[in-house]
């Protein structure tokens, strides 16, 4: 229960932090999508209900604070979570290069989805920003995911004495 109570505040804090950091580091040129990394990590660590709610809340807060179309990132993050959740049984999260590659693929898929969405719905062609904005962003997500997963492993080893695997997730509800 505490998870659901803390989640919105935590999501707000994370999205605000990534927005401010991106503003300071890149002057708004790039977005540091730490929220996407968290959703990917949730796909490996949480059950469907918790993970989907996390993705939904994270997407909602992201939509609210970044000024994107309301519901867009909610949908994207939920799709990302479900994809991660379904492949998590077959991926070894201890191998960081796999995490990096998987995160890169997911980030590029997200980019593709956003490009198609804006093209179809609003007729805006964002392909020009692919190399200068979206690709660096995807690479950054990939690098952050590696760091995040490594930190998670270390923390779990410190707390539990061993790192938790996807198969050790608790029940669904």
């Amino acid at each position: 229960m505490i998870f659901y109570l803390v989640l919105p505040f935590w999501a707000v804090a994370l999205v605000v932090a990534q927005t401010v950091l991106a503003d300071v580091l890149f002057s708004g040129w790039l977005v540091i999508e730490a929220s996407l990394v968290v959703v990917i990590c949730a796909g490996f660590r949480l059950n469907v209900v918790r993970g989907l709610i996390l993705a939904l809340v994270m997407g909602f807060v992201f939509d609210c604070l970044t000024g994107s179309v309301m519901g867009l990132f909610m949908l994207v993050y939920m799709v990302v979570f479900l994809l991660t959740f379904f492949v998590s049984e077959r991926l070894v999260t201890e191998k960081l290069y796999i995490i990096a590659f998987f995160s890169l693929i997911l980030s590029l898929m997200e980019t593709l989805f956003l490009l198609l969405f804006y093209q179809w719905i609003y007729g805006i062609n964002l392909a020009g920003s692919l190399l200068s904005v979206f690709l660096p962003q995807a690479l950054m997500v990939s690098i952050m995911a590696v760091g995040f997963f490594y930190a998670m492993h270390r923390i779990e080893e410190m707390i539990y004495g061993k790192s938790m695997h996807s198969s050790q997730r608790a029940g669904t509800f």
Binding site: V16, V20, V48, V49, L56, V69, M70, M74, L75
Partner: protein, 281 residues
């Protein structure tokens, strides 16, 4: 098990459906900020402010640190520059003083129609027994024993020992130095003998001779050692009270022997016999 999975499918579908409804409603109409969105913005604002202020504070501190580091570096650089400039200043001041002295010596050369060799004083011995200086020129530069040595404004001594690249000058204040001189005003001839660090005595000046304080003393040219007419000093005191035939006449040389740095050696007198050329002096 079936119901459990079914409930999950329903839950997932419901969430997707909700997201799609929100998305489609936003696409269809530019709706204003809903209540939930307002809540999120309201919650995010103080956090945003705090985080921005913190980062700005850190940024300011970092900028101040960088500024101070730069300031320290600049300070160090400026100190180095000051040291260099001070060093240059000392050098230039020294050069200036040397130029002044050389200019005075050059004036001597212009004033007297002699051939001079300039030399630096490289050592001095002004002990009780002898008062001499060492110069950095010798026979290789045309110097010979007995040549007169001058420094502005007049005579200071003569060469006594000459090696290839150095020579010793016996100063006129040395007790063993004797120079044939004239009192310029009255043409009274005498012998100038050294008498200590800052003075000389005129020997064999009769008490009846007209010599008084302030009279200039010049070389007489009689001994063929010193050319005639070179300034030596000024009569600083005349004492006729002593028993004897001669007056006790003290002469203060013009040169300051403790500060000699450059001297000129007269290596050759010109055809006119070393007569002075008054060039507007």
């Amino acid at each position: 098990m079936f119901f459990k999975n079914f409930r999950i499918v329903i839950f997932v579908s419901a969430l997707f459906f909700a997201a799609l409804i929100v998305l489609s409603s936003q696409i269809r109409q530019e709706a204003g900020a809903g209540f939930a969105k307002k809540l999120v913005l309201e919650a995010a604002a103080p956090l945003h402010n705090a985080l921005t202020a913190s980062i700005r504070t850190i940024g300011d501190a970092w900028n101040r640190y960088v500024y101070l580091v730069n300031l320290q570096e600049e300070n160090r650089r400026l100190r180095r520059t000051i040291d260099e400039l001070n060093s240059d200043l000392v050098r230039f001041r020294e050069d200036h003083l040397e130029a002044d002295r050389l200019r005075q010596n050059l004036a001597l050369e212009r004033h007297y129609d002699f051939k001079f060799v300039a030399a630096y004083v490289i050592g001095r011995e002004q002990a009780a027994l002898s008062k001499t200086i060492m110069i950095n020129k010798g026979s290789a530069h045309g110097l010979k024993t007995g040549m007169p040595v001058v420094a502005s404004p007049g005579l200071i001594g003569r060469l006594t020992d000459v090696s290839w690249h150095a020579a010793k000058v016996l100063l006129i204040i040395d007790e063993s130095s004797n120079v044939d001189v004239l009192v310029q005003r009255t043409r009274v001839q005498s012998i100038l003998r050294g008498a200590g660090p800052r003075s000389c005595l005129l020997k064999y000046v009769s008490k009846i001779h007209d010599v008084k304080e302030g009279d200039l003393v010049i070389t007489s040219g009689m001994s063929n050692v010193f050319p005639k007419g070179i300034l030596i000093g000024v009569v600083s005191g005349v004492d006729r009270q002593d028993v004897g035939l001669f007056a006790n006449v003290r002469v203060s040389p013009f040169a300051d022997f403790s500060k000699l740095e450059e001297v000129m050696i007269i290596v050759d007198e010109t055809a006119d016999g070393g007569k002075t050329k008054a060039k507007g002096k």
